[in-house]
Symmetry: C2
Subunit: 438 residues, 2 copies
């Protein structure tokens, strides 16, 4: 029966805070602020005067402080009403902190693998988290050719759990729409992706940059490539319209932290301030894109690249395999939502139909992921924001050679995504383009 | 530049009313209520005691009153906190009236072709509109074999204007997300479609009904048809996730009113209470589905069916042609949104790319429309809500024969939608199945 009625629709539980009392922090004001949060003060121990505060200078958007006390340390992240890297000329809403916390707390509940939240001060746009002191950014570890064997499977599983459990496969349509409507407020961050990933690299735009003059001709060719442009706009349409699940929205290797102590590894996903309801393939594609970028960058970082490159392609397939395996388990055990309802497949002989539906679903998702991977690769070479994997390569001619091969794969993934169809086929294309298997 | 920031996201302009003071009307209380609305009283003229009120008994969900005064007449539609046809055992939120008004006012602004709104009393869930006294429901006119030549092109144009202008093709992503979030509150009505169109006909369910015993075997076969079930769930996924535009949500031939006075015809679209952000193809498919149902029903309504059947298939292609023509005009002249931004196609030699993108967009939309058309046909034969076109056919064996042919087309449209690809090909399939061209 339907009976989902009642006089009033349920109100949203979460509401964007009022920022009337917002005050931006600075290094010298952090200790006093954190002292007001008992759970944070307890974690740090001692007195605020004893706490060491330093700003971590590597965020593009926000200020991040590491605070160390006698008993422990914390990480405090505060949004400013503008983009940190650019300044007040590029305003950005404080509400991104609210959405980051909303996403972080859902990810913690649904999949773990994120930093522990100690305190969220909504009106101050401030999140205080555990400090991952022994962790490093995965991107940097990859450039340094360090291998964390558990990262790929843990991230595949993380994506399966967050994406499945925030979708119509697990939630009722009403719950899912309420969540999607909440995150629809995070438009300013989505707009950054819409512009920087799906638009600017394909037109003349003052924010674009690339290795010049080496790639001048390539950039012009991309702007005149009608096939690429059309395929990118199909993907942008999905990004704008396809509210499948709560995606992290910025899941590159710089949003992953890894650590190793003896045999024990730890992996965490950070920085979900771009979170919104979008296509599931966007997160999977973002991660694959950055593994491919690291793959093509290896040739620029000295001899001995081949072994790391082979390892990186294996990680690409392991991400997908772990994702698909966990997604399939959830499909079989947690399909309680309005989509593909289990009750449709209960009659005799219909179990195969449910498995066939799963296969078709994953096949479509894999194609989406390949397309988004290509989109995310190209923007890192032709758009505003680049990656250190490639940026640190000298001389420019060597960097441009690596970038040219990466762009060739990016185009194939976007334009031929349906023909390539699988992550392992995409890895083979990467190997062919890099000459490794040629 | 991006600069879409600011301290706070903009609030929603529209808010669902508080229904604390809500009072259901009855025929004897309508005049007193309407007397309180000056614009309504002026339209009716005279004194409330002079007004004739009658309830129009043909709505499934709401109470509709026609009120006639010395100077003119109005139509008053009030939602009740349950489904009118079933009673209090099936609750349904009053907020559907708010969403109906929100959709109606947007349609009026963007495309016209809807009744004039005289008064919206939000807390009373009451919309007072012009009375379309000389109009008839298009479905009934089609069964009576009356031909309104302007209906198909006007409806094609109406859909193009409402769908294009509420999408990311015309709105900024932020505006579109605000609208989508607003209509995401209309979940209870969407849930009716999710269950009755995409789910129940494909499983054993107490609300299902069909011409029995004639179609008992057919209904069982559909429930065991894995291919059909999978394709229907793909379409349901689009219905749940693909927030492309503000769709009417129930655009069948019973939601269209037509009139003819000499050579002058008038066409209006009514009852958008199912409105929500969904796939553009859903509205187009709903209209096509009901033209096809009328087509297959004609053989059950006495001799002389062939001419009307041929005319009906022509209307199907005219709906699509008018839609595609107007959509193409808007693509060329009103593409101001974040999707397929015009600025991408401004460089020399890129005009063809813009047209190629339009063709690909329409081709995909046409496939979606065919799939949704098939879904909407089958539910009218195997699900809860049927159509008078078929229901009035006697004896049941004749009705079942018509319904069997309609179901055969429904399955083709759902399962083979990508191969059929065009509305004119679908019309040819209909003709083959009905034996007209065999």
């Amino acid at each position: 029966m339907i009976h989902s009625g009642g006089l009033q629709p349920e109100p949203l539980v979460d509401v964007v805070p009022d920022y009337g009392a917002y005050e931006p922090l600075a290094v010298e004001r952090v200790a006093a602020r954190l002292a007001a949060y008992p759970e944070v003060a307890a974690r740090l121990g001692g007195r605020p005067e004893d706490w060491q505060v330093r700003e971590v200078g590597d965020g593009n958007l926000n200020f991040v402080y590491i605070v160390e006390g006698p008993a422990g340390s914390v990480c405090a992240k505060q949004a400013l009403p503008f983009v940190r890297l650019v300044g007040e000329s590029w305003p950005l809403p404080l509400s991104r902190s609210f959405f980051e916390h909303a996403a972080l707390s859902r990810q913690a509940r649904l999949a773990g693998t994120v930093p522990q939240i100690l305190r969220f001060d909504g009106p101050q746009a401030l999140i205080v988290m555990e400090n991952l002191g022994t962790h490093v950014i995965w991107r940097k570890a990859l450039t340094a050719r360090e291998r964390h064997e558990t990262a790929a499977p843990i991230l595949g599983r993380f994506m399966a759990e967050t994406l499945f459990r925030t979708s119509d496969l697990n939630l009722s349509a009403a719950e899912k729409k309420r969540e999607a409507a909440l995150f629809a407020g995070n438009t300013a961050l989505a707009k950054i992706t819409e512009d920087l990933v799906f638009t600017d690299p394909y037109r003349v735009h003052p924010l674009n940059r690339w290795t010049s003059p080496e790639l001048d001709g390539t950039a012009a060719k991309v702007r005149g490539d009608a096939e690429w442009k059309l395929a990118i706009q199909e993907l942008k349409w999905q990004f704008l319209c396809s509210a499948e699940a709560l995606v992290h929205g910025d899941l590159h290797t710089g949003s992953v932290m890894v650590s190793k102590a003896g045999d024990a590894e730890d992996v965490r996903v950070i920085d979900p301030e771009f979170a919104f309801y979008g296509p599931m393939g966007f997160d999977v594609g973002a991660l694959l894109a950055n593994l491919f970028l690291s793959y093509f960058a290896q040739d620029g970082h000295g001899p001995g690249a081949e072994a790391m490159k082979a390892w990186l392609l294996v990680q690409g397939t392991r991400v997908w395999d772990a994702f698909a395996a966990r997604f399939s388990e959830l499909w079989r055990t947690e399909r309680r939502g309005d989509a593909y309802p289990a009750s449709l497949f209960e009659e005799q002989g219909q179990a195969d139909a449910s498995e066939a539906a799963l296969e078709a679903f994953l096949a479509r998702l894999q194609v989406d992921a390949l397309g988004f991977a290509g989109a995310k690769m190209a923007r890192r070479i032709l758009g505003l924001a680049h990656v250190s994997d490639l940026e640190t390569i000298e001389p420019p001619a060597l960097r441009a050679a690596c970038e040219t091969r990466a762009l060739a794969l990016a185009r194939q993934l976007v334009v031929e995504r349906r023909a390539i169809a699988t992550v392992s086929a995409a890895c083979r294309r990467a190997a062919i383009l890099s000459g490794a298997d040629a």
